[in-house]
Amino acid sequence: MYYSNAILTLVVTPLLSAPLIYLIGRLFMRTGRAGAASNASQLASLLALAGTWKAYIDIVLQFNRSSATALRYITGSVPLQVDGLSILLAGLALTLGTLVVIYSRMYMRNEDGEEKYYAMLVAMTGAMIGLACAADLFNLWVWFEVMALTSYLLVAFYREQKASLEAGVKYLVQSAAGSSLVLLAIALVFMETGTLDLYRIGASAVGTPLMLAAGALFVAGFGVKAALVPFHTWLPDAHAQAPSGISAMLSGVVIEAGLVALLRAISALMAVTLSWGVLLMIFGALNMLVGNLIALKQTQVKRLLAFSSLSHVGYMVMGLGIALHAGTAAGATGGVFHLINHGLMKGLAFLAVGALLYALHIAKGSHNPLTISDLAGAAKRYPLATLALSIAVLGLGGLPPLAGFMSKWQILVAGVQANNRLIFYLVIFAALNSVLSLGYYAPIVNAVYRQKPSAAVLNGSSLPLSMQVPMVLLLLAVVVLGLWPGLVQWLTDPAGNAIMATFGGY
């Protein structure tokens, strides 16, 4: 069949390209010309991603949107599947991956080991696509680990920096702890059911004690990557210390990939317990509250955004929890819509903060963190970056006419439609949390539009075009989706239906 080639290309291209990108970078480094290595490896990355895009578009065109069934393809003993959720996650990973490659051109220039950066970035994108297409627990775990491995190296990229190394080690240890829990859970599942195929497990899973333990281990293990409270403690350091393009990837799509892995794993165990929906809603409430309250007290912009990611994961799991509890796709659709929007908005926020960080500190060779007071008066010198940052954080705060408003609305509609008193309270709680989040987003906007510039702004350098283009694209997407939410319905509806289908076909 035609699409099987496309699936294979989609999954394999970025992974096979990654070492090539590294080699090309090294080869051009030998030429000794300044910038040759970075130009070459960046160009190679873009070519690799272009090939992946081609395969992705082929699959999207093939994919029958109306049916909830996945395209399945088995190569050797590796089963792959493409359903609505895979398409959504792969699309988001590719979009952000491509924009970050473009963005990193000047940001990473002159850094030691640039060719590794691009190779790892492309490999990480590929790992997420693979994760989205995995159809059995073992391969899900393998892709998950590849994603984790590539991201450790990227988080600790500034290996001369103490803070960056500390963040990397914490991330490594906690993530590895999570992985081992997942591996244990897979073993338990295999022991009980004798299969690792997600579909077949689902058919034979019952609520034995071992399966319950496996479920808990899946939640905790994948929950570390998905930043569910209280498994989230690695996140603020990692997101704040990574190069900003990587922060955008981590916050915008990597933790969401963790969430998708979590969903895939527990979908097989759906029949084990009735409390999946409740569990997710509890995590939703916890994440929103903890993320927002801690973010209120942050003064470093990247840390603040990292904590805000916690609360946004909260909205997503709340939507998914409502869907599982009420048995309707609406919450899941809202949840994945928010997943897209959060990816775009948080990606934009980190790219904009990164641009300002670059202009105010990095271009001066400083690795000081960017604080809110550094941003004072930045709008006059950096109108685009500050506008992008303002739009991104206001969108995250759920203000119309920006994307975040619409996806939050969709989640809350699903909550009220569930017609359950406690879920209604949860909806009110979520809405109040959205208001609370403005308490830390709005001061950022106030700061950038001050008239008295900070010392950092006065000494700042200019912003290269390669950083501005990805910001403009994301900014437009955030506004357009806020005015016309139906534009990505072709992605969100199949993804929502796919989630419901894997959870036992409501």
Partner: protein, 584 residues
Amino acid sequence: MTQWLVLSVIFVPWLGALLLALSSDRAPRLQHLVASAFAVVTGLLSLCLLPLVTERTVVSVAAGSVFGNFTFVPDGLSVFLTVIAAVIGCLAVIFSIDYMHGEAQLGRYYSLVLLFIGSMTGMVLTSSMLLLFFFWEMMAFCSYALISFYNDDPKAVAGGMKALIMTQTGGVGLLAGALIAYSFLGTYDIQTFLAYAHRLPEFALSIMAFGFLIGAAAKSAQVPFHTWLPGAMEAPTPISALIHAATMVNAGVYLLARFYPAFAAVPGWTTAVVVVGVLSAFLGAVMAITASDLKRTLAYSTISQLGYMVYAVGVGAVYASQFHLMSHAVFKALLFLGAGAVIHAVGTRDMRQMGGLGQKMPFVRNVFIIGTLALAGLPFVNGFWSKELVLEEGLAHGPLWAYILMVLGAGLTAAYSLRMVYMVFYGTAKKEHHVHDAPAAMRTALAPLALGTLVTWLLAGWLSELLTGSLPYHLSHLHAPGTVELIVDVLTAPATLVAIVVIAAGLLAWWYRDLFASLSKAAALPAAMAGADFGFEWLNRVIVGSTLLAGSVLRLTQTGHLSWNALGIAGGAIAVLGLLVWGS
């Protein structure tokens, strides 16, 4: 034709906002010009809508999935408020040419003002509750951003944040209501809701009704959510006139009036609306009489006057509320812009620093006095007719205690109005100010408003036709008289006589305030209470303080130690296991 007009009063100002946002602050003259051009065109477009009023849905765009249809209905109520928003918006922009002369960041200023005008017209014209909330929040954003326009001033930043958080918190009530309506009826359409509201279960309808009341009270700065409005006075004065006096704060009254037919039967709802209105009207007036900041006095008076409108809706007098809304929008915009001219000239907002300005700025004094007459409710300017109508309806349909407090409030209003005029324009000058009368653009904005204050009451009959002609669900609640009928009605009503006596007493009480000097000790306590905002301010601080404290406490969980982090993972896993076992 109608649909293009409806869309253009929203998108023309938004286009202007976009252009100005992209414009360079190095060409301020061009910015003034472009902003005024867009504002004037929007005002004219809104006037063109007047003959096209209809109860039909003229624009409907399917937005897909749970977003319903984006619909717009230019009925009487919508078009009436569209005209108020667009015309006063246009005058405020013209006024800004002088007021904002030489200020930095004009592009941001004008683009937010135009964004606001488009959002306000959108809010009143849409018949989708989703879009209602959408525009509602956009207005909140514009309001916040303009209050904080002088971002270097911590007071302005704090005022903006407070306005944003408080109105958004109230907005949750509106959000919940809209979601409930959708989950029961499968549509956000307001007209469908008004037609089928009785099909909703009683508890659902009452959550909606009270949720909307909370949203409306927060937006219209009604007790107990009123505390953001005085803080909002840090905004440039044209913004205070436009957003925080004449247009956005009316949104709550609009919301109550719009949904009145559906909620009137909800037990306790109308009483709650009356209580909110009376408390705001009375407490607002008390606070106004003790304030010494000119703009804050006007802000308290706005709270109080909006209380009259809310009270009118509560007693079922939807027409009277809208009639007073029209008068108030005109005379309060006049007062604020007049105050803006004074503040611009003397450079302070403290009335104790003013005095004797009347001779130096006669034009401003004259128009300000016209506005004050209307605020005090003296015959025969627009505020007189509408306030009397509200009080008369209140006596006829509402509880007596409420009526008594409202009339006392009218007396206090007269007293603080006189006090304000006296402190600013008469008496001896406290300080040497090199003041000049209002320049040309300011006069251009003030003159039509002064004229309007004198004559808009003649539009009473026209307003009733506008409302009764296109609001089928409100018909049984609209006691809308013609102009002549209104004049006879008000002049012969006993309520009018009572009110005039009380208003005169209020004026005399302030004029002969020295006679009551012995009473001033007794008045010290209420004055202190009013100065402390009757404890509501304290309540705000407690809520904000405890939220921040919770944040600080939670930060302790982010220890940065791996062993604690690992414990979190282990503990979390055990808790999850417990929950899964419970559910199996």
